[in-house]
Amino acid sequence: MIHSLFLINCSGDIFLEKHWKSVVSQSVCDYFFEAQEKAADVENVPPVISTPHHYLISIYRDKLFFVSVIQTEVPPLFVIEFLHRVADTFQVGSSNVGDTLPTGQLSNIPWRRAGVKYTNNEAYFDVVEEIDAIIDKSGSTVFAEIQGVIDACIKLSGMPDLSLSFMNPRLLDDVSFHPCIRFKRWESERVLSFIPPDGNFRLISYRVSSQNLVAIPVYVKHNISFKENSSCGRFDITIGPKQNMGKTIEGITVTVHMPKVVLNMNLTPTQGSYTFDPVTKVLTWDVGKITPQKLPSLKGLVNLQSGAPKPEENPSLNIQFKIQQLAISGLKVNRLDMYGEKYKPFKGVKYVTKAGKFQVRT
């Protein structure tokens, strides 16, 4: 299947290689570099490249390319999935892999090592929901759905057998499971029953589909205009709370990719701070939180390259925000039970809602 693996950094150095079969020369990566040059940016390097003798399947993660060399037919997703798992192990701690690398011990449960011991036994669950949305120019929702995950941090001794139940499991429209979860129990009782891996891991991801109503916690009023035959334009956006369920919306950031002809921006925020990078043309406004008494706004002038035609498209606004202690779908954990061990663990559930791919078209 995978013949060799090369790790390449942003400046094009092959700094690590691994061969599972015979050694494949580094020069095979030249095909990759060629494709990389052709692509406008790193995101557009085709993940699968065909070369005369090999196929290259690559991923891009954290400023590194993981390039694998394939010689025969294999499902591309198989390789991509594997490369991402490799990338995951490279950044242990910040991702959904266990804190400990596999020890080489064999356990009868593949995902949990034997003989785990803690003095404090704890089980924490983070219900994190992200709202993906496209809001059109007039403020109506073109598309919205909720993508949720439950991340667990479980430090329990021995072989605990947990079951987690929800107040409203029917909300979970489409779920994907960590292999530890017993599918049948979920099918029949809508209970998540599992022997957890040790440490941090992603228990489930789910989707509350667009067919349900999705509450949109913020609105943006915007007025972005460029005058014909003039070297300046107006930029004016205001953010306000919408269906925020009475919670504070915080950590708001607005990112805007301005058109190429924009030279500079001269803006005044009523709160927070903004930066504009004249090279990448990215405007970032770090807003902070919304106080309904005085809605945050960012106003001012846009300097355009003189003589260039005015941009045809207004840029989309990408919004980030965070709402603590709320799962916007209304999902609620009912209870967590533990079997198989005698001690009493500390248990905790945290909810948070964030903006996912939240885009406002202007």
């Binding site: 591309p76 997703l77 941009p311």
Partner: protein
């Protein structure tokens, strides 16, 4: 052989790779190594360290060496120094020596042989981990001389008592095969042996070996087929992918096409299998129920083994691994009956949230699937909408999918989306969008004019690439109905002055030539201009100038004779020989010569023959002849080692080949599933107990074998048990373990299936059956009403004044009139039926419950139709309807979710639609819908609001405000809408019912009319009246439903006991007595009407 397969315990060689980046200090570059002046000296130092007796120094040296290897530096000269340490006692050192050996043995074969005896010793080690790693290294050393040793080692390991070692043996097989393919026959024997292995640990690896060594030996799978299907869910993810892919191919050779009899096929017979697995009692019940209604038709019957595969892979759609989900999706696409394929759509759409590489691959596959099975992705249309932040390659794939999904119904929405894309800053993407619009226009006749108008307006775009792309697409569209488009051709003709992109110029010239009689005055003038600039043009343009000249000469020689001759003379001396050639050929053809060539008389026919309009096709068309999810499919070219997906056989091969003589395994697993219901995942590891042994407790061979034999005997016992006790289960589950029995059973099953048919038909006609194709069509029927109102008149109006600038008419749809596009500020109407039917289809995928339950559990909107909230007369043109959607209201679970449908029948836009201050009875609260800023005349919109009725049927009164008016409206819920279904087993139901006796029980006797005696009708009527979920029930003719009231969460249990001859008794148990009473009344009414 590969990393994925050995990923579980990162022992030995895997360590090397991961050690690298964390410890960059080890491998010293010659440049950076200040201490060591040359390679030679540096390695000297390492050699010294390796020669010491201190393990710590050895370890340090090995770490540095391995780091060098990882960075691609040459460390081969260290081989003698390293290989000496292969026998080192320190396990850490040993591991790293192994890593080194695997890397360099091929280069230093003679020296490598020195280490072989160490591994041979290792193969006999009592510790299974050491045995496995010795085999792994031995098989990774690519030294041809040791092939016989490897072969022997693999054979022995294949009989090892540790499944972990057997797994390693499976991994070693392809390695040996790649080293020496002459070993194939012997290796196949080992594969055959390992295929019979019963542990999940081995299954994935051996199938991998099978695929690499002997994929053509499908016959080896027969006896293991059922086992593989049953083990599948517990195999690790990488193994699952390989097995599923192999089984897809297997099924294509062994079973009949499920679509061959599509019209006769009902999806019900298959569904009968689902339930039984969950709950035997329920299964039996429904089976009996079905038996009472006998069908006569004998449709295609799916082989139970085919069904087994479909059923056992379905849960894996929920896997966290994208590769597994894709594998199941392709299996369903290639093997499942049409009606069932739909379940994969949702899972695939889920993957779109993953890494961009995953998206890339998934979208390619969705693009192919969406051509064949458009219906299944239609409900997810919006999931393919494009964000400005998507990478271009993703944007273009999404665009492809959107185009494939566009149909008569959704085209306005799709075009509105395209409208946004056209203004993107990403010009490649804009060009692709224009192509997409062209394809929509050719595929959907109704919007052709609209699209064409939009594209014509793009011709005045500032970006030349956009204009050029539009010209090319317009050219193709015009070919379909040129007569009406003289104006557009004139417009295009003018563009030749400005537009420079050769392809676009060529397209314009071709158009003018082809339709010169529509533009008789302009054409010669264009030719004149072109003749002037001829020498400066690109080759493709020159060719088209010659074409234009020839065509004009033939139709209008008076005006163009000289021009044509001039052009031809220029071309005659062109540098490009194609052009010279063309000129010569054209001249001969059109200019009558002395000899009077026979062809020139027909020149007009040749040049101006009617040409078929081009078909704008997706590049993904017919790509499904490659197995989906494969590399070959992605590249659209056969990759090395690709196994063709065979066509279905005409006649089914003998199914008995899959019968297994000794049914121990199946029985065993049955027993375990029954006895330890909580532990289905670990079913095999318990009995086999191999991997349970930890690395250190080594000399346990006796106890291992002991536990093994005990489990064997246990299963024998249980097999006799299960024969007696669980006939039902056996029939459904342990399919055909014994050969004689299975045939009988097969017969039984067939008859049962036949019996099921009429029920299936009944369900099929109801709205909520899961079939995608039918839900798709019903959906379009429903929506077309509203859409047609908008679109039809516009289209018609435009036709009457042909080819005039019909921009105002286009406003109706305002799809592409780019000048002043004001998006309708409402959400595109998505009728509730769409939601419900797709939801039904989707959820069906999730639940493996009894077929009869599925529709009722979901209880979609269909039951409660729309009701009027505000009549259009009272509303001064604003008409408002509402319906109870029965979906959980996402903001607040206590709220009833109400869909509100607005339509504006007035001539003016209605602005600022919102809920005014409600005056509500105590307890009742409302979650308002988001304000609808503007509703254009003729437009409609939907919104969803939540109302907490506080478990009462009191009406919620509120005001509906527009900018200048207020209307008082009220929504009163039927009692059945105040609850939501709950899932419950029969036992739970009985238990809860026991708690709600006496005052909490309301009973009513009734007589069911003839029309209302079939299962289906009863269930449908009850669920239509009340939002309850069906509870499995062991007794025939008894129906149970359960739900909870939304506000207080009180249980509502409904039982209907239907006796023969229509007598029936209805019982409702609930502590909310008022609700109970009202519910009894409503349900009785519904049933007896």
């Amino acid at each position: 052989p590969t990393a994925p397969m050995s990923a579980a315990p990162a022992y030995g060689e895997d360590k090397g790779g991961s050690a690298g980046p964390g410890e960059p200090e080890y491998g010293h570059d010659p440049a950076s190594g200040g201490i060591f002046s040359s390679d030679y000296k540096r390695h000297d130092d390492l050699k010294e360290m390796l020669d010491t007796n201190k393990d710590s120094l050895k370890l340090e040296a090995m770490k540095r060496i391995v780091a060098m290897i990882a960075r691609g530096k040459n460390a081969s000269d260290l081989f003698p120094a390293v290989v000496k340490n292969v026998a080192c006692k320190n396990i850490e050192v040993k591991k790293l020596v192994y890593v080194y050996l695997v890397r360099y043995a091929e280069e230093q074969q003679d020296l490598a042989l020195l280490s072989i005896s160490t591994f041979q010793r290792g193969l006999k080690d009592p510790n299974q981990l050491i045995r496995a790693s010795a085999l792994r290294v031995l098989s990774s050393i690519r030294v041809p001389i040791i092939v016989p040793i490897m072969m022997l080692a693999i054979k022995e390991a294949a009989s090892d008592m540790s499944p972990y070692v057997r797994k390693t043996a499976a991994h070693a097989i392809p390695k040996l095969y790649s080293l020496d393919s002459d070993q194939k026959d012997q290796l196949i024997e080992v594969i055959e042996k390992l295929l019979a292995d019963k542990t999940t640990l081995v299954a994935g690896s051996v199938v991998m070996a099978f695929e690499e060594v002997c994929p053509e030996r499908i016959d080896l799978i027969h006896k293991n087929y059922r086992k593989l299907c049953n083990l599948l869910i517990d195999v690790e993810e990488w193994g699952q992918v390989v097995i599923i892919s192999m089984l897809t191919r297997y099924a294509r050779t062994q079973f009949l096409s499920p679509t061959q009899n599509e019209s006769l096929l009902e999806e019900n017979p298959e569904k009968a299998f689902y339930g039984s697995e969950e709950d035997e009692a329920k299964g039996a019940g429904s089976e009996e129920a079905a038996a009472s209604t006998l069908p006569a038709r004998k449709p295609y019957v799916m082989d139970p083994d085919h069904r087994l595969l479909l059923r056992n892979t379905k849960p894996l759609l929920q896997s966290r691994s994208a590769a597994v989900v894709m594998a199941v999706a392709q299996l369903y696409f290639h093997l499942a009956p049409k009606a069932e394929v739909g379940v994969i759509a949702k899972a695939l759409v889920r993957l779109l949230r993953s890494h961009s590489e995953v998206q890339y691959v998934v979208l390619q596959n969705v693009a192919t699937m969406s051509i064949k099975r458009r219906g299944m992705f239609e409900p997810y249309l919006k999931s393919f909408y494009i964000r400005s932040t998507d990478p271009t390659q993703i944007k273009i794939l999404k665009l492809e999918v959107l185009t494939n999904l566009a149909n008569e119904t959704n085209i306005p929405t799709v075009l509105r989306e395209f409208q946004t894309y056209i203004r993107s800053m990403d010009k490649d993407f804009v060009a692709a969008t224009i192509q997409a619009i062209g394809r929509c226009a050719t595929n959907i006749g109704r919007v052709r004019d609209t699209c064409l108008n939009g594209l014509v307006q793009l011709l005045s775009n500032r970006d030349e690439l956009v204009v050029a792309e539009s010209v090319v697409v317009i050219k193709k569209l015009l070919q379909m109905q040129p007569a009406q488009h003289g104006e557009i051709i004139k417009h295009l003709a003018k563009l030749t002055d400005n537009i420079q992109v050769p392809m676009a110029r060529a397209s314009i010239l071709w158009l003018i030539g082809e339709y010169c009689e529509h533009v008789p005055r302009i054409a010669p003038d264009v030719l004149r201009k072109m003749a002037k600039s001829f020498t400066a043009e690109e080759d493709i343009v020159k060719l088209q100038i010659i074409n234009l000249a020839a065509k004009l000469y033939l139709t209008n020689s008076k005006q163009t004779k000289l021009l044509t001759q001039y052009v031809l003379s220029l071309a005659k001396y062109d540098q490009n020989y194609d052009i010279r050639d063309r000129a010569r050929f054209t001249r001969q053809l059109i200019v009558p010569s002395e000899q009077g060539g026979a062809l020139s008389r027909h020149a007009k026919k040749l040049f101006l023959a009617p040409k078929p309009a081009p078909v704008l096709e997706s590049s993904f068309k017919d790509r499904d002849h490659f197995q989906l999810g494969s590399l070959s499919h992605l590249l659209n070219a056969k990759a090395t080692g690709y196994q063709e997906l065979p066509d279905w056989p005409e006649e089914a091969p003998d199914p008995s080949v899959r019968n297994v003589e000794v049914p121990e395994w199946t029985k065993c697993s049955n027993r375990e599933k029954r006895k330890e219901k909580e532990k289905p995942f670990y079913s095999d590891s318990e009995g086999e107990s191999g991997p349970t042994e930890s690395a250190d407790s080594d000399p346990e061979s006796e106890s291992e074998s002991g536990s093994k034999s005990s489990s064997d005997s246990g299963s024998e016992e249980s097999s006799s048990e299960s024969d007696n006790e669980d006939e039902d289960e056996d029939e459904e589950k342990g399919r055909g373990s014994e050969s004689e029995q299975s045939e009988e059973e097969g017969e039984k099953r067939k008859t049962k299936k036949r019996k099921k048919v009429p029920e299936g038909q009944g369900e099929g006609s109801s709205s909520d059956e899961g079939s995608d194709s039918s839900s798709g069509s019903s959906e379009s029927e429903v929506t077309s009403e509203s859409e047609e109102e908008q679109v039809e008149p516009a289209a018609r109006r435009r036709k009457t004044p042909p080819s005039s600038k019909s921009a105002p008419a286009a406003k109706e749809i305002s799809l592409l009139d780019l000048e002043d596009f004001t998006a309708p500020s409402v959400q595109p109407v998505s009728p509730p039926t769409v939601v419900s039917s797709s939801l039904a289809a989707d959820l069906e995928g999730l639940t493996l419950t009894d077929s009869a339950l599925v529709p009722s559990l979901l209880s979609p909107v269909s039951s409660v139709g729309r009701q009027e909230l505000l009549h259009r007369v009272a509303g001064e043109g604003l008409a408002v309807d509402y319906a109870f959607s029965r979906q959980p209201f996402s903001g607040d679970p206590h709220m009833v979710s109400v869909h509100i449908y607005f339509s504006n029948n007035s001539d003016n836009p209605i602005k600022g639609l919102r809920v005014g201050t409600p005056k509500l009875p105590a307890g009742i609260s409302i979650q308002e819908f988001p304000e609808i800023e503007s509703l254009a005349p003729g437009e409609s919109a939907t919104a969803v609001m939540g109302i907490n009725f506080c478990d009462s049927t009191q009406a919620a009164n509120f005001q509906l405000c527009t900018q200048n008016r207020q209307f008082y409206v009220s929504i009163q819920p039927p009692v059945g809408e105040l609850m939501a279904p709950v899932f419950m087993s029969e036992n739970e139901f009985k238990k809860e019912q026991g708690k709600l006796m006496g005052m909490n029980e309301i009973t009513e006797k009734l007589t069911l009319p003839d029309s209302c005696r079939s299962d289906h009708v009863v269930v449908q009527k009850v669920t239509a009246t009340a939002n309850l979920g069906r509870v499995p029930c062991g007794t025939a003719n008894e129906y149970r439903f359960a739900g909870r009231t939304l506000t207080s969460g009180s249980l509502v249990l409904l039982t209907l006991d239907a006796r023969p001859a229509g007598a029936a008794q209805l019982t409702v148990n609930s502590e909310k007595m008022v609700i109970g009473t009202m519910l009894v009344k409503d349900v009785t009414q519904a049933l007896t009407q």
